[in-house]
Symmetry: C2
Subunit: 336 residues, 2 copies
Amino acid sequence: MDQDDDHKHRNEVTLREVSAAVGLGMSTISRVLRNHGSFSQATRDRVMKAVEELGYVPNRIAGTLASSGSNLVGIVIPSLHNIVFPDLLSGAALTLNPIGFQTVIAVTDYDLEQEQKVIQSMLAWRPAAFLVAGLEHTPRTRAMLKNSGVRIAELLDTDDEGIDIVVGFSQREAGAVSARHLVERGYRRIGYVGPEFSFDPRARKRFEGFSAVVAEAGASVVETELMGRTSSTEAGRAALERMLARNPDLDAVYFSNDDFAVGGLFHCIANNIAVPSQLAIMGFNGLDIGRFAPQPLTTLRTPRTEIGEIGARMVMEQGGAKIVDVPFELVRGATT
Amino acid sequence: MDQDDDHKHRNEVTLREVSAAVGLGMSTISRVLRNHGSFSQATRDRVMKAVEELGYVPNRIAGTLASSGSNLVGIVIPSLHNIVFPDLLSGAALTLNPIGFQTVIAVTDYDLEQEQKVIQSMLAWRPAAFLVAGLEHTPRTRAMLKNSGVRIAELLDTDDEGIDIVVGFSQREAGAVSARHLVERGYRRIGYVGPEFSFDPRARKRFEGFSAVVAEAGASVVETELMGRTSSTEAGRAALERMLARNPDLDAVYFSNDDFAVGGLFHCIANNIAVPSQLAIMGFNGLDIGRFAPQPLTTLRTPRTEIGEIGARMVMEQGGAKIVDVPFELVRGATT
DNA sequence: CACATATTTGGCAGCGCTGCCAAATATTAC
DNA sequence: GTAATATTTGGCAGCGCTGCCAAATATGTG
């Protein structure tokens, strides 16, 4: 099987060679392989046999160029270290793979310039569609995306204007709901722990919604700790410790996500701070780790996988621009 | 800019149109864009200006077909819900992106048939290289990979034969080291909690190494709990509870990963089981969550990101097949 | 059996780009 | 000034496949 290749490059088996082996035209082979158009059963069998024997692997690069229309879907997320994004990916892949699409994933590291770069290079592969986390982009990114003509869904956040499809929930409202919960349960001196606003706009929006409600209720966000980008247990634990050192009077702390919150909870457990009687803790996202902590964490369960699924489904459909709100849910644990 | 398109498909701007706009040949434009070959500064400026104005986005599908050699690297992992794999991805992306490669990611859900399917369809895009988690594949997968001629690195596990490059550590040895630690500290009635062996061969190998050492030492693995594929806190917590109900005499439990182990630790905290005096707990992976738990978890820190980095680097290099051992490290916490 | 109709097959152009080489132009030497 | 060299540019074939349409073959009808 190797003796006849004075080919250009590799020993790549091409359609032409399958065609020669079977003694049928290339178009026929192509039709059989794509199960498209008509051919006899006998032909199909002969072709399949030859394909098997030669180890032919269709070249989709050539196929896509000839037919225009790839089976690639670009997915752009800021990080893989926050469970939110793998969940998003899973949902999208779950929807896309069965219908024959492949996901090309790029990570921006919460950097809009980087996002622009990766989107540009993904665009060069003419993906069938785009899924992007968040609504914040550089003007140039927005323009490229709009001009590309591919369907695009922006995920997770419905608080601002989108380019085409938007699937998510209101981050402001999520913050507000959290605040209402704490205020209703009587907490008044509230701390906040989250990532630097500059690179996580969704956390910022949640905080805005949160602090607005807290202020309305006559309570106040007494302390804030803003940290680097890792949503880690360590950061949450350390932040709470610092915060309590500065202000031991706090009666509740709202963490921007469950990883931070669990870190906070760990600090309390390790230091015999009674939760919630001495200090209440609230998280965000509804992770497993919080649900099965010694005391289940009060948090907001966010529909991450579902958002990925819906985004993927919508991006494959016809129809005009749309906004889909996928509701989150308050999960009352034992920490508030 | 839209009036002149009686093109075939879309209003895609092509090289030809840039060429027409600038009044230079297509090859010249192409050279400028790829910064390859020679051209004057004046030409470059004119070309760049036109590219900008027309919003030209090179079509890499055509480019790759013409030149053979894509900038796509296929990465195949079993899951995104075990932090191990996002870490692997990050490491690989970190190495690959700066040198102009894009990662195409597929998830197999721990299913070798599925793996075969995704690898086949990735191969259709003629990736420059492949990174695959694990050494276990169907014979057909192995054959496809071998015949494809692309460089492939198998990651995480060095206990068996690889196809080309292998980067990781010995899972058996990791299990053995863990066992030695427990045995040396005097634990004798040991439980094991992990995923079903059928779909996580690495966990199986660790268990083999573990139980061999335990047996040698005259101690024994008294109880085992094997669970579904999610490496969740919940599963670990529930498994420990069941195990202790059956056998309250255990003095240590080895968990196949830190998520399970943290679940176990939570069970102990919630039920006032003193760790490690009453029950020792050991995990695997060295996650943040274990390190900053109320009691830091004893575990093995695995070099996941590094494995991704090295795998990516090696796959881009020349040279024959290789095996690279990236060492893990025992982290003594306060739970043993 | 001739004819109309359905099914199966082959040929060819072209998707948008790059590699190769020759042509045109600029630069330098004498 | 001309010849020799260096630099910049253009033309053309072709990467491997698909879409279109015409040709060949099979099937059905009276």
